[in-house]
């Protein structure tokens, strides 16, 4: 295997390898780390971020960014709880419809006016949080999930793992197929790689971009709805800074922020990595969650430096 292949392999699957390494080290160091209960708790608490990160992966591969997902996550949760007295269907469809429309609007503005995704979704972040506050009486009202069936979607268990884990798994598989095996996926890569070239080759640039932001909005709303089902209420103070966690996970997973390269497996591994780091720090006990932030930050910096050096190595050979 030559150097170029090695570096490409490391960039694409580095997150999975580091994840495996951390799990092995953690299991050797702490008796209570490699237990089924702990593994289940890491996987469950990671599943909501993972759903958001899947959408973010599409956006970032297309060369964009979506800062609105944290707000959409909260809005989705509040709307799900708000709609839950009318049954499971409303509890699911209401957040999906509203968050999907927000994604559609953002996508249309980005695709049609050529404004920077960063700014458009920054406005989205603000506007959606405002919308959430308006629905929850300025954050004063917390809606409770009344519908049993809907709550079971977040709380029910199968073989020791709760339902959101399976939903996340299914979504990840679907997203992988969509990204790797369909024309739409090809178009996302092509636009992220070189938008002008893609347009010249007949790729429907605007439509693909819009779809990518719609997907991101839908997934963030769904994650919020599932979280509300798990917590039995639409909590208004969640989701702050979640967009940054999602971007961090995607970047750690090997997707380049410049667009055109990356994948779902890496992003899911990136989310799990952040979860495992948190779990390891919990094992040490005396360390605070503040310390976890330091480790995550340093880790993120190391990963992007490594990525950068590896992609330089690729270009040189």
């Amino acid at each position: 295997m030559n150097r170029e292949q090695t570096s490409r392999l490391l960039q694409q699957h580095g997150a999975v390898m580091v994840l495996a390494l951390l799990v092995i080290v953690g299991s050797l160091a702490f008796e209570s780390f490699a237990t089924p209960a702990n593994a289940a708790s890491v996987v469950v608490s990671s599943s909501f971020l993972a759903i958001i990160a899947i959408g973010m992966t599409f956006v970032i591969i297309s060369g964009g960014i979506d800062l609105s997902v944290g707000s959409l996550f909260v809005l989705g949760g509040v709307l799900a709880a708000y709609g839950s007295p009318y049954g499971m269907l409303v509890a699911l469809l209401l957040p999906l419809a509203v968050c999907g429309v927000v994604g559609l609007l953002q996508g249309l503005v980005i695709a049609r006016t050529g404004m920077a995704p960063f700014i458009v979704t920054l406005a989205g972040l603000l506007g959606v949080r405002g919308l959430m506050l308006a629905i929850s009486d300025e954050g004063a009202t917390t809606y409770l999930v009344k519908d049993r069936a809907f709550a079971a979607l977040g709380q029910g268990e199968l073989l020791g793992l709760s339902h959101p884990v399976y939903i996340t798994g299914a979504l990840a598989l679907l997203a992988m197929v969509l990204l790797q095996r369909t024309g739409f996926g090809q178009n996302v890569y092509a636009i992220g790689g070189n938008e002008q070239a893609a347009a010249l080759m007949g790729v429907p640039v605007a439509r693909t971009k819009v779809l990518v932001y719609v997907m991101s909005g839908l997934l963030a709303g769904l994650a919020g709805a599932l979280n509300a089902a798990r917590l039995s209420s639409g909590v208004t103070i969640l989701g702050i800074g979640l967009e940054l966690d999602a971007i961090a996970a995607v970047v750690i997973g090997g997707t380049l922020l410049t667009g055109g390269a990356g994948g779902i497996t890496g992003s899911v591994a990136g989310v799990l990595l952040l979860g495992v780091i948190q779990s390891l720090i919990n094992q040490v006990g005396s360390l605070t969650s503040a310390f976890q932030q330091v480790v995550s930050g340093v880790f993120l910096a190391l990963v992007v430096v490594a990525q950068r050096l590896l992609s330089k190595a690729q270009r040189l050979t």
Binding site: L122, Q292, L300, V304
Partner: protein, 323 residues
Amino acid sequence: MAELTSRRGGRIAVLKPQVFAWVQDYGVYAAVLTLLLFNVLFTPHFLDAANFRTQLVQVTPVVIVSLGMALVIGTQGIDLSVGSVMALAAALTVLYLGYGWLPAVVVAVIGGAVAGLAGGALVAYVGVQPIVATLALLVGVRGLANVLVPQLVEFRNPGLIALGSSSVAGIPVIVLIAAALTVIVLFVVRRTTFGRQVVAIGGNRSASELSGLPVKRVLLTVYVLSGLLAALAGVLATARLQASDPTSLGLFIELSAITAVVVGGTPLTGGRIRVLSTVMGALLMQLLAATLIKHNLPQSWTQMVQAVIILAAVYATRKRGTR
């Protein structure tokens, strides 16, 4: 000016680029003046000195942070770490307050500059994208601030309290400091070689490299300055609150600062820095929030209106910016 020939309907075609140019150059001033006028006419007690002072003091940290952000955005970069750097500065200030307030402030500002140095090194010398490099700092530095000072700490140092709450001729000292910093940054951008280099690098990095500009050094300096200014903002905010609160100080200020810069007409694509308009952008958003609250519109409305203003401002200024 391609629109001159490509569009039909003569007069509009000639007018349109001019309108865009006017909005880009003076739109933010016009908006601030309009809002001021509205408040003078319809908001009770708006012209009270106390109200004015409160508004100015509240917007000061955003203004100082925005100055650094404008420099960074001028190089086609972005600095997401400013809020966390503020928190770090607050933590360092109370940690070293035992040695006197001035040494503590110096340590805090140096700490901020070092954080900026780390981000700048990643951007300039490793070639990491600014948004990721400073995202890593945002996460890590906030954590560091919380590790250093795990909870809210109140202090009674008279010097630091005076820095935060004393006034000269009725104007709060921290507002004067912000004004002085604005003048300095304006001078640096307009009159110094460094300022010209910053704009040149943002305009065309490879051309700047080819013409022998010290691109890496300038980039590094810009992030150091941003960290330094953010730390100053953190120190002043801490002095005003008479307490250090690393958990929530400066939360989301990066978004306010970026908003101030783009509403002021500095394009995110770099190559142009509008210092005074950036300050106006910060004032506009503050004034807008205050106006909506004074007229009993809830916070939810404020945020939605802010979102619309950001979009409108960027849309109005995008013509020249995208080129």
